[in-house]
């Protein structure tokens, strides 16, 4: 066990955990931030996507010991009041079916738009290909990203 001082959603957080613990479980079990979802544990589905700085990361494969003081953003901290353009666009297009993968989809899309504010359809597909939606809401996800990027 070791103590880690983390910078999560603009707040200092301290946890005392095994250094190998993935950020996914630090967030879910130790900080009660359960918006970040467990889907596969091997970085193949994208449900656990968070932003480390401006980069999308699979938190299931990111040990807490590698985070340091980098800014971590989770779905809970993406905006103050659910008013990030992507969150608004997600509501406008009524994207979710079961909804389980959507936090990861939004966090992945947020990093995409930081790097590329006006992505083409092909760029969206390429960037989002690591995020599985078992319900098949892909068309709406793409439409929502386009709406958010147009704003």
């Amino acid at each position: 066990m070791a103590i880690f001082n983390l910078n999560i959603n603009g707040k200092k957080q301290q946890v005392d955990v095994d250094p190998a613990t993935p950020m996914l479980w630090v967030l879910r079990d130790h900080l009660n931030l359960v918006g970040t979802k467990y889907g596969c544990g091997i970085a193949q589905c994208g449900a656990c996507t968070i932003n480390l700085g401006d980069i999308a990361m699979r938190s299931c494969q990111l040990p807490v010991s590698q985070v340091g003081n980098q800014a971590v953003t989770t779905i809970e901290g993406l905006s103050d009041d659910g008013d990030h353009p992507l969150q608004q666009a997600w509501l406008e297009h009524d994207v979710p079916q079961c909804g389980y993968c959507q936090a990861g989809q939004i966090m992945n899309a947020a990093a995409l738009l930081k790097a590329n504010p006006h992505p083409s359809d092909e760029e969206i597909e390429a960037a989002m290909n690591g995020n599985i939606c078992r319900c098949g809401t892909y068309i709406r996800i793409k439409a929502a990203i386009k709406t958010a990027s147009a704003g």
Binding site: V17, D29, K37, I42, Q97, C98, G99, Y100
Partner: protein, 731 residues
């Protein structure tokens, strides 16, 4: 106006509806404390709620809480079922809050997510619940104003009496209405007067979903809660021999390691107790990561029986077994003679492998079992059935088992089988603590109740002029047949023979979105396409010709579809897709199917780019009667189409000596963003028929449209799923 007697579940309208556990509706749900997702224009929550009936309560300020009775697995019933109540209550949707109802079959009927039946079977009851409350409010107003009931009207949450000019909000009359005896009969609205049904309303949980609020079973937590995980045998059929848990016990955060039989000897298994593994090793600890690690350090020996199963030989086994095991399930005319006299026989075989459900939220459940009661919270499609299982397994009376439903990260049939509730309950009792049982993705994928493997042979007999003389279907699978012998084209062909067969397996299977139809529809529609081509006919006109026969002069009297509605969706998709129009490098396939009481026809526009199939567009016509929430229904239709395409192209669950060869999404291929159709146009047939299923009927036919479009694109017919298999490129 329709007047209906309030005949169903009269107990549900007792004023202070007693709920499981003795509580009132108010505050029952653990989610109720969350910020309301809708009704944001209402500035304050009511000081008091008045129970009008078990389905709804009205606050003194006019805010209405509507209970959504059925499990929400992504089919959007949590929005659409309350919409039906709100319609008949005559309330402005923006003043409605929605709560997941508790399991209470005294009040709510059929609290199940399965068979695409929530809306269809809920329809009358939900309308009646809203209409009953509306009438009680009108009665309260009539008494207060001393005017005849007939003269009290409603409009969007307001009560009016025209002659006296009196008006009141529902909230003002709620207290009085709650004390009025339940009316013997109530008036339902005319369909033409609907204001909410048929208009698109956003998902009531949308805001919580996009802001990451706790909603799902895996998000649930309780003070003092422990995390439990299981280890089951690595192969179907293996038995536990010995466990060395010394390493695991010494690891940080670990509370206990033990072996467990989910169902003890003498336990009477219900259908929903289906489970591939019944003995397992359990690890319990403080946190998920600690328990995951401890699990890996267990040293377990398993015994192998002789009959471990491999899927490598399945298709050969099924191809050989079919003819010898088949039993006739329907026969019209004299098909044997027709085939004997045929000038030409077209015979084709189709097959599909096992599939894993792969809900994005793995199986999990919270349980807190004490000496005299059990409390369970989590994602389950069959809470009512599982309440019985948990009660039986724990030896508790039924009313001492309480199951609360969370939002579910997908169902697809996997959560019909709730062995994980029983496991969680047994673990909690053993630990004398609240416990959340969590499956890893690997546990989830390797402990499946898989979609069965299927195999079907179709034969058609033609005369020398290419006229269809006879049709023969022989379908089977491991371990069930997918046949629906009385569906189309039965009823449209004079000489018809349907046979079925099945083979045993120790691999555990279960219902998978659109059970049986998810295979047989695609096979049948691909065969009809090839048959039409052989006969030199347009595939849509060929089907319409058969349907015309079934409509005007049906063969036999057991046909379980309406030929006119079937033809209706085909005609609609023909027109909307501009069937017959040629586009360079775009190849079209058509398909239509009836299941779950709904009719669907689809045209797929497919291109091959860099050797990969690219679905440019899917045109889709659906007849599911009245559509409650059109945009959400469109979303569900899109999802069904993506689901069907994905599994048919890419997915398979295979086994070697009983061991699953896919354990996670690195080897199990699911459809991804770039592989989804670029566009899907969904057209609903407009009619006033009571609503039918939508969660399932969309994915079966698309497999046929895909197979037929692939043929047009490549010149090759695709008979074996997954169509791409190990192929990287086509063409």
């Amino acid at each position: 106006m329709t007047i209906v007697k309030t005949t169903y579940g009269r107990r549900s309208f007792l004023k202070t509806s007693t709920l499981a556990g003795g509580g009132m509706v108010l505050g029952f749900s653990w989610l109720a404390s969350c910020k309301p997702a809708t009704a944001e224009e209402i500035l304050s929550m009511p000081k008091e709620w008045f129970d009008i009936n078990g389905f709804l309560k009205i606050g003194e300020n006019g805010l209405v809480t509507i209970m959504s009775p059925n499990p929400e697995i992504g089919q959007n019933v949590k929005t659409s079922m309350p919409m039906i109540i709100a319609e008949e209550l005559d309330i402005d949707w923006k003043n409605v809050l929605v709560e997941q109802a508790p399991l209470n079959t005294d009040i709510f009927t059929r609290q199940v997510a399965g068979g695409s039946q929530s809306i269809r079977q809920g329809w009358q009851g939900l309308r009646m619940a809203g209409a009953t409350a509306r009438k009680m409010l009108r009665q309260a107003a009539a008494e207060a104003w001393q005017v005849p009931l007939e003269e009290v009207t409603t409009e969007a949450g307001m009560l009016h009496h025209k002659n006296s000019g009196k008006s009141a909000g529902y909230g003002e009359m709620a207290s009085a209405a709650a004390n009025i005896p339940v009316p013997e009969e109530v008036e339902l609205k005319d369909i033409k007067d609907f204001k909410i049904i048929g208009t698109s309303r956003k998902n009531v949980d949308g805001r919580k979903i996009v802001t990451g609020q706790p909603l799902f079973g895996l998000d649930y937590r309780r003070d003092g809660m422990l995390i439990a995980m299981i280890v089951h045998a690595p192969a179907f059929g293996m038995k536990l021999k010995s466990v060395d848990d010394s390493g695991a016990r010494a690891m940080p955060g670990i509370k206990d390691v033990f072996t467990m039989n989910t169902y003890e000897e003498g336990y009477e298994m219900q259908w929903c107790d289906t489970a591939g593994f019944k003995e397992m090793v359990v690890v319990v600890g403080n946190s998920t990561w600690e328990v995951m690690n401890a699990k890996k350090s267990l040293k377990i020996e398993w015994e192998s029986p002789a009959d471990l199963e491999s899927t490598a030989g399945h298709m050969t086994k099924m191809a050989e077994a079919g003819p010898s095991l088949a039993k006739v399930v329907r026969k019209d005319g004299d098909p044997e003679a027709a085939f004997k006299n045929a000038a030409q026989i077209l015979e084709r075989n189709y097959s599909a492998p096992f599939l894993a459900h792969n809900t994005m939220e793995p199986m999990n459940f919270f349980a807190h079992v004490t000496a005299d009661k059990a409390e369970l919270v989590g994602p389950i499609q069959t809470p009512e059935s599982m309440e019985k299982s948990v009660a039986a397994r724990l030896g508790l009376p039924l009313d001492k088992v309480d199951i609360q439903m969370t939002r579910q990260g997908g169902g697809f049939g996997r959560r019909l089988y709730g062995h994980f509730l029983v496991e969680a309950a047994v673990i909690s009792r053993k630990m004398s603590a609240p416990v959340k049982l969590v499956y890893t993705r690997e546990d989830d994928m390797t402990f499946g109740n898989y979609r069965p493997a299927y195999y079907v042979t179709y034969r058609a007999a033609l005369d020398e002029n290419k006229n269809l003389l006879a049709f023969h279907v022989r379908a089977g699978g491991i371990p069930e047949s997918p046949i629906a012998a009385n569906r189309f084209p039965a009823g449209a062909i004079d000489n018809y023979l349907a046979e079925e067969w099945a083979m045993e397996s120790n691999i555990s299977v279960g219902a998978f979105r659109a059970p049986r139809s998810n295979f047989i529809a695609g096979a049948e529609q691909a065969f009809l396409d090839e048959l039409a081509e052989t006969m030199g006919k347009d595939p849509i006109e060929f089907r319409l010709g058969l349907l015309e026969r079934a409509k005007t002069n049906p063969v036999g009297d057991r046909n379980d579809y309406e030929a006119a509605r079937y033809a209706g969706v085909l005609e609609l998709v023909r027109d909307k897709s501009e069937w017959g129009k040629e586009t360079p490098n775009v190849h079209r396939g058509v398909s239509a199917y009836f299941c779950h009481n709904s009719y669907v026809a689809q045209v797929m526009d497919l291109a091959i780019e860099n050797g990969k199939p690219i679905v440019k567009k899917v045109h889709c016509a659906v007849d599911c009667g009245i559509v409650i929430n059109p945009d959400a229904a469109t979303n569900l239709a899109e999802g069904g189409i993506v689901d069907g395409i994905g599994h048919a192209l890419y997915s398979a669950m295979t086994f070697k000596e009983g061991v699953p060869e896919q354990t996670n999404f690195d080897k199990y291929r699911l459809i991804r963003h770039s592989e989804a159709p670029k566009a899907i146009d969904v057209h609903f047939v407009k009619n006033e028929i009571d609503p039918t299923g939508l969660g399932e009927p969309l994915n079966p036919p698309i497999v046929g449209a895909l197979a037929n479009a692939l043929y047009k694109a490549t010149g090759t017919r695709f008979y074996e799923q997954p169509f791409l298999g190990s192929k990287q490129v086509l063409g």
